[in-house]
Amino acid sequence: MPDKPTPEQDPITSKSYAAYYLIAMVILMATLFWALWDEAWGQRPWKAFQEKWKERYSAFLNTARSKSVTSEKDVEQDPEYAKLKAQYEKAYQDSKPQAEEARRKLDDASARLLAVQSVFTDRRAYVNALTYELETSTSASAKAKKQKEIDKYKNEQATVEFPDGSKKKFTFPQLEETYSEIRDERTKLSLELGDVLKPVTAAKNKMDDYITDHMVDLTPQQIDGLKKTAADWDPKIVQINVAEAAIVDRCESCHLNVREPLKITAVSMEAKGEKKPDEYANAFTSHPEPELLRIHDPDKFGCSPCHQGNGRATTSVEKAHGNYEHWLWPLYPKENTQAGCQNCHAADMVLVSGDVQFQTINTGKDLFRQRGCNGCHRYEGYDRESEEITSIMQQIKQMDQEKRANVKQAVYLMKQADEAETNEEANHLNDQAVALRVANSKLDLRTVQLERTTKSLLQDVKKIGPNLKDIRLKLNKNWIPVWLKKPTDFRATTKMPNFRLSDHQIRAITAYLWQSALTDPLPKQPAGNAAHGKELFETRGCLACHSIGEGDQMTGGTFAANLTRAGEKANYDYLVRWVHNPRERTRPYCIYEKKDIGPEDYAKHGKPYIFDLDHSRCPNDGHELQVQNMTVMPSLRLSPEDARDVASFLITLKKKEPSDYPDAPFMDDPKLKAEGAHWIRQYGCSGCHEIAGMEDEGRIGTELTFEGSKPIERLDFALSTEIAQRGGKNAEPIKDAEDLARLPDGPATKPWYNHKGFFEHKLAEPNVYDRGMVKSEAEALRMPNLHLTKQQVLALTTFLMGSEETSLPTNYQYRPQDYRRDIQEGWWIVKKYNCMGCHQFIPGQQTALMGQQRYIDNPEFLPPKLLTEGARVDPEWMLSFLSNPALSVTDTNRNGVRSYLQVRMPTFSFSENELGKLVRFFQALSRQPFPYIPDMRPTLSTKETEMARSLFSSTAAPCLKCHATGDAAHDKTATAPNFLLAKTRLKPDWVERWLIDPQAISPGTAMPSGLFKKDGGQWVFAGPTPPSFQGYEKDHTKLLVDYIFQLTPEEQRKVAAAMPHAKAASAQPKTNHRQASAESGHPTSGGTR
């Protein structure tokens, strides 16, 4: 600095701004660094996840590696493995001298090739260069000159020094030749070496395969691969991008292990020494259902179509999961994850993958139907029959009008024609009239088709609640108002919900129901034997659907009503008719005329008063009638006496006398009727019940098909909006203790202003959003309390949350057109009739009967498992069996196939439509071709027949000991079906498999495995074989199958007679299926088929 006196007022020295600059600079720099940090880390929280992942995943792989090594060692100790290893070593030793020789030659050839190659490639390059110059030379002289140069170069001798030290000189062509010679030699040698080593390599591969086959975990090599991937990982966004479905999911940027083949739990991803898995550990788990990922390839489906959330967001966990106010589809909470299935699988009634059932969503779908939700709320796919019937009726009406108009017009045209001035004009008009008549006959044919469809639909359409037209015949009058007050007080598990009706509403409603009900006479029934009835009730299978006993004492299924207090409400005479055939209807209903048809209508047309599935046309207008009660309850084909016994037993079930109910004279007050009709319409009772005069009432509730995608503002939280948004101490509006207990997560403490919160609260206490509002009776919420359990609320909430209008393209919807569609449609029927109450369809699935003591003690008396039913039975036979399980028209009080079972396969009166669907369902479930074309079975020679017979009746394979023969004395101890049914009923391929390992087809069956063993390539009998089998080379199983398929009643009788104590079969089973299908069911009472 210059040495100058500083002026006094020099701003530079008098006042320094350094401090300001410094502060500004620090702020600026801080901002800069913050910006840099934010760019690198703040906006990219996934980087931290990836760092942690690298660390923990590598640590995890290290432990996995060591475990995997031990298990590999275990496998190596197997004697089997030792054998393979010895084979390998022997092969290795055997080939050693040859291999070494070959390898030496090969090495030598390689070395020589290398020596030649270095010189050759050099010179070839030079030749190529010269050739290029020749090609690019313009003048002929230049070309000639170059050619000369090339020739000269080619003739020059080049020295090659071989590995053994020898030197040799070659011209270029010689060099080229030598080079290819040595190269060919080397190829030959290496092939030779391969041949020599072939057995060694094969043995080694066998050894490796053995390890892979016998190790449950990954092999060390696979784990090493994974470790390398983890170590080489560079931070990056991992993204799934599916253009056709507009899916961009970056979830895997943090959830790095989702597709991991190893099962990785949060615990195994914990940091060392931590007690609880932190957010990283939870993020790094593998997908809990790897099977689902296999079916739904993440590269096609992404993550968000199933889970929701904002797949694009990467700036924070909350945003990525969609848990902020600007994202409409937040991630489904863990317990509601299965909601995601509904997006594409709305058409499926049962979701199952392998033997894993998706219980939450399946229960939700089932409850929606079983609790009659669709009685008030339309939902696409549910209750299709009634919608179709309505639309067909409209079509028929339209066509009728059209026909009448046509007739009128034709008459008019003909009249015109008669008066026409010219013949030409007359002909023209007549032609028009004729055309109209043809059009009418076309309309007639169309009507016939629609009537046929209607017939099926009328058989298929069911109501969840009973027919209230019959209440005068069926019920204790005084019981009705008490029931309506609060149904759960009478029967805690009933499907009937609580409508919170006031006393005057109950009086009016019961008055309407009572006064509008049918009053037809009911035949008086003599009393039956209640003790026998109890036995029948407990053994015939009633308890697969119905339950008995209350609270802890309850046994039986939950599908139908608990009958503990049936005696208080029911009328005995009606009960007998009901037990005998629940489908029997008091009066047929004409859906065209919209009235109940009585004997007077039939008399008017001179017709007998008979109506059933074979007499289902209206006497007035010829349209299809509803001739059955619209219940899913089947006929158990009990004799009238047995029906009386069961009814006599049921009528004894009561806690108090029917006469103890207070008199209800108001039900006969005609003044109340009109008001009653009003309230019945108000509450939509006809959604679940048949009620006189209300047959065509529409649904009163809102459609729920896309309820889950309603914007939250359109869900009316009413006065609870604020507490729902705020959460905290008073966040729970429900006060009633019973209703509080229905909330899956208990009383709310956190904010619950979302779809889940809305649905859960509404289902727990439907009128919760009326709380604090001033509403008249007519304005108050109509939805009744369904008295659901926690699990049921959870399931229905999940179902509703998943009921969304999806943005995915239609080909993402699961609407298959092949055999899978048959499966899809079949499940709706299987669930509708509660087939799973008796039968097992999915391995491990529990039926209602299985839990009952009677069947725990004697599981062989359970109904058969249907795990491979489609592969087992001939579809044509199945059709006849399903329409008439007795396989007989006259002898119906029995099981057609398993006559030894007390539990009865009932007659469901399936329509043509449902029969077809069910048969296709079973075939599809077992992946059977449809239609089924049976193989020609070979006819056995006399010798073969004798051989088979000796096996069939040997003490070592005492088939007839367990299988029924039709002889009553023998069949008392039978536990398996009659062989004579096999020919028409079974598929031979299945029978052979069954003989070999029945336990693999129906686990727990009485038929033992191990009857046959594989000897070389042949299936032979495992016990001592009769001497005639000496030298027989075919499978013994096939022989036995062929024998069974050609078994005649005479043959069976002969064999049985020859067997000690197994008496001769006196009768053949009542059917052979062609007969049965031809004769199948023409009973006179309404309903059976």
Binding site: M25, V26, F33, E51, N62, C962, A1006, P1060
Partner: protein, 258 residues
């Protein structure tokens, strides 16, 4: 700007730079060392000089029901007579009671014997009617009859199977992996044939003989719960304290169920 501010500025910059560097240069943590694999737990040793014994007699209170006769005429190969073995009582002594140490062994483990336990089918009857076996130990099932049997256990906690055994077929060797008391076994072809296998984790079990007697040897001293289980009469427990080299008698009686 004076010298000091420059220094401050420069040092701030350096500091920030260092911080940045430190933030970026997060050290790679060394992966955790592989955890040592756990060897299969060896049997807990028992000092042979301290071992104690429990024995006793199981009685049946009241009059024993007469065993029902079984009609075996269905199969002529089933020779001899047969009667129900539901409740076998002689002079008030109850046979076929499974007695085992239900509680008190703590976390001890025991070697599984390599020799199998025998189960014979003879005269269309199981011998023995009640069998004890350690989890993992083989049961060797033989058929001495001239008829085919099938062996069909219907367990609650083990896997179910059902195999055919023709006359003079090779013995079937099977084991059960999980503890299960009174696991029913039956033959579907001879409905009266029924027996029970008891699968336990310790070798301390016994089945009462015809005179109702049992003995469990080789127990280390300790406090035990002894369970007496009968197929029809249910389970009863007793507590017992054993000192070293003790021999204690624990009797039990079952009442006829109503």
């Amino acid at each position: 700007m004076n010298k000091n501010s420059w220094i401050i500025y420069a040092s701030t910059l350096c500091l920030c730079g260092l911080l940045l560097l430190a933030a970026c240069n997060k050290k790679e943590e060394t992966p955790a060392a592989p955890a040592a694999s756990q060897p299969a737990p060896a049997a807990t040793p028992i000092d042979p000089s301290t071992i104690a014994t429990v024995n006793g007699t199981v009685k049946f209170d009241g009059t024993a029901p007469k065993p029902a006769k079984i009609d075996m005429s269905q199969d002529p190969a089933c020779k001899g007579t047969n009667e129900s073995e539901n409740i076998v009582v002689a002079n008030g002594d109850l046979a076929n009671v499974f007695v085992y140490v239900k509680d008190g062994l703590g976390n001890r483990t025991f070697d599984v014997p390599a020799t199998p336990v025998a189960l014979d089918q003879q005269g269309c009857k199981y011998h023995p009617h009640v069998l004890g076996v350690m989890a993992g130990q083989n049961v060797e099932i033989k058929n001495d009859d001239q008829t085919t049997h099938n062996i069909h256990p219907t367990p609650k906690d083990n896997r179910e199977w059902n195999e055919s055994q023709p006359p003079s077929a090779a013995p079937i060797d099977k084991s059960f992996a999980r503890e299960e008391i009174m696991l029913p076994v039956k033959c579907n072809q001879h409905p009266w044939m029924k027996m029970y296998i008891n699968v336990v984790k310790s070798p301390f079990y016994a089945v009462t003989d015809k005179s109702g007697k049992y003995e469990i040897k080789g127990l280390p001293p300790g406090d035990y719960t002894i369970a007496f289980v009968h197929e029809k009469l249910g389970e009863q427990d007793q507590k017992v304290t054993l000192a070293a080299k003790d021999t204690k008698t624990v009797d039990q009686s079952f009442k006829a169920s109503e």
